[in-house]
């Protein structure tokens, strides 16, 4: 079924999804159904397949089998335009802070400068507008990447460990931005292995281990009474392999 602009994006439905790299199975028979708005957090230890799943959900990678459907439609460019993705390591262009946002806003036409200034203010980067983007600190770079993703007015925002290795002040600002974005009705799917961040932000949690989804439940239930041994061990701070 072709996607239709204006139709809701949710539910996100993943069925029997497998992804292999050579002989290794990185994602194994993933089934997931997300229909609620708010922030869905995908958690799990390193190598669980969280980032890979996010890329497939956004249509950047093709799985060998299985399917991903947004409101019943398979991924295409029209659907991807309605989403924004922020990578763990922000990919910033060799331009100024403002020019990085303008790159996305200009083709959309209209009063793009006003919108850019508003986005930079929201991200706390108004004073750095003219600085080379790649000379910003890690936290500022991530905030810029988030502001650029928001520039397209996405209906779903996908984030891959946006706060990994950045300072706590930037983490706080990013989390505030994410809460504001959630309030505006944008669906957020956040990959993290930071248990504290998941506690603070999650409405529901997807727990992954070794390429499989072991749990998907409302955040309160997941943190109070995780079902799987691996999730319990993970929340207790044990090293799981």
């Amino acid at each position: 079924m072709p996607s239709v602009k204006g139709a809701p994006l949710l539910p996100l439905e993943i069925r029997s999804l497998c992804y292999r790299a050579g002989e290794e199975t990185l994602l194994d028979k993933i089934d997931l159904f997300i229909e609620t708005p708010g922030i869905s957090v995908i958690m799990g230890a390193n190598g669980a397949g969280k980032s890979l799943l996010l890329r497939i959900v956004h249509g950047l990678l093709e799985p060998q089998s299985g399917e991903v459907r947004w409101h019943g439609s398979t991924m295409d460019e029209t659907l991807r335009r309605r989403q924004g993705l922020v990578f763990q390591k922000p990919v910033l262009m060799r331009r100024s802070v403002a020019a990085n946002i303008d790159f996305v806003l200009k083709p959309m036409g209209g009063q793009y400068r006003q919108r850019r200034d508003q986005l930079l203010r929201q991200a706390g980067l108004a004073r750095q507008w003219n600085q080379p983007a790649r000379l910003l600190s890690g936290g500022e770079q991530q905030k810029l990447a988030l502001a650029r993703a928001l520039a397209t007015n996405p209906e779903a925002l996908l984030l891959d460990e946006p706060c990994a290795s950045i300072d706590s002040a930037s983490t706080l600002q990013i989390e505030t931005l994410l809460r504001d974005t959630r309030e505006r009705g944008v669906k957020i799917i956040l990959v993290t292995h930071d248990i504290g961040q998941a506690h603070r932000l999650a409405d529901d949690v997807v727990f992954m281990h070794r390429g499989r989804i072991l749990e998907h439940s409302p955040a309160s239930r997941f943190f109070d009474a995780p079902v799987s041994t691996e999730a319990r061990a993970y929340l207790d701070g044990e090293i799981i392999v």
Binding site: Q83, F87, R94, R95, V104, L135
Partner: protein, 235 residues
Amino acid sequence: MQDFSAAFGLAASLIIGFDADLIEIIALSLRVSLCAVLLSALIGFPLGALTAVLAFPGRQAIAVIMNALMGLPPVVVGLLVYMALSRAGPLGWMNLLYSPTAMILAQTILVTPIIAALSRQVMEDMHREYDEQFRSLCIPTRRVMTALIWDSRYSLLTVSLAGFGRAIAEVGAVIIVGGNIDHLTRVMTTAIALETSKGNLALALALGFVLLILALSVNAAVYSLRASAKRLSYA
């Protein structure tokens, strides 16, 4: 040794004295080579970006051909352009043989593969970095190409410099299609070749020094521009 010291002295006196003939030769050399580099950049940058971005059958073969053409022998290019522009050739009606335009044409053919191949390498590396972000933002191919050209502009300056080096130092092609006509198509390299054949080694060497100074000056200017761009993390 005497030749070298005489050449140094002669070069200095030619430069300091603003020798009219020398200025004319330098101006024509710069005009021909810079025009050729500009034309090559106009062709080579988009070609480099296209082969860096688009995945199509035969892309590797094109990359190999572009790399191979970097070593085009100037005399062969000169001969081909000569045949095309001579009266009996397909472009003979344009009456361009033995003119600066013919020299520009020959140098453009020589320099374009260098600029296209090197810029493809630069932009392929950058595209690898930007690719997922661009696909996520659904940026159309044409915009991807222009973004890559703009974002790699300082590296492309160095690429153009390599092309300029090839053009300004080249003698085989320009002497065939230009004819080394005094006050019309005589450039630094053809003048050096002429003075050497006449046994006027000091003047030939002096012209060689001037050529070296020219190449050094252009290199230094581009290097300092690139260094300041690097400080801003734009390069």
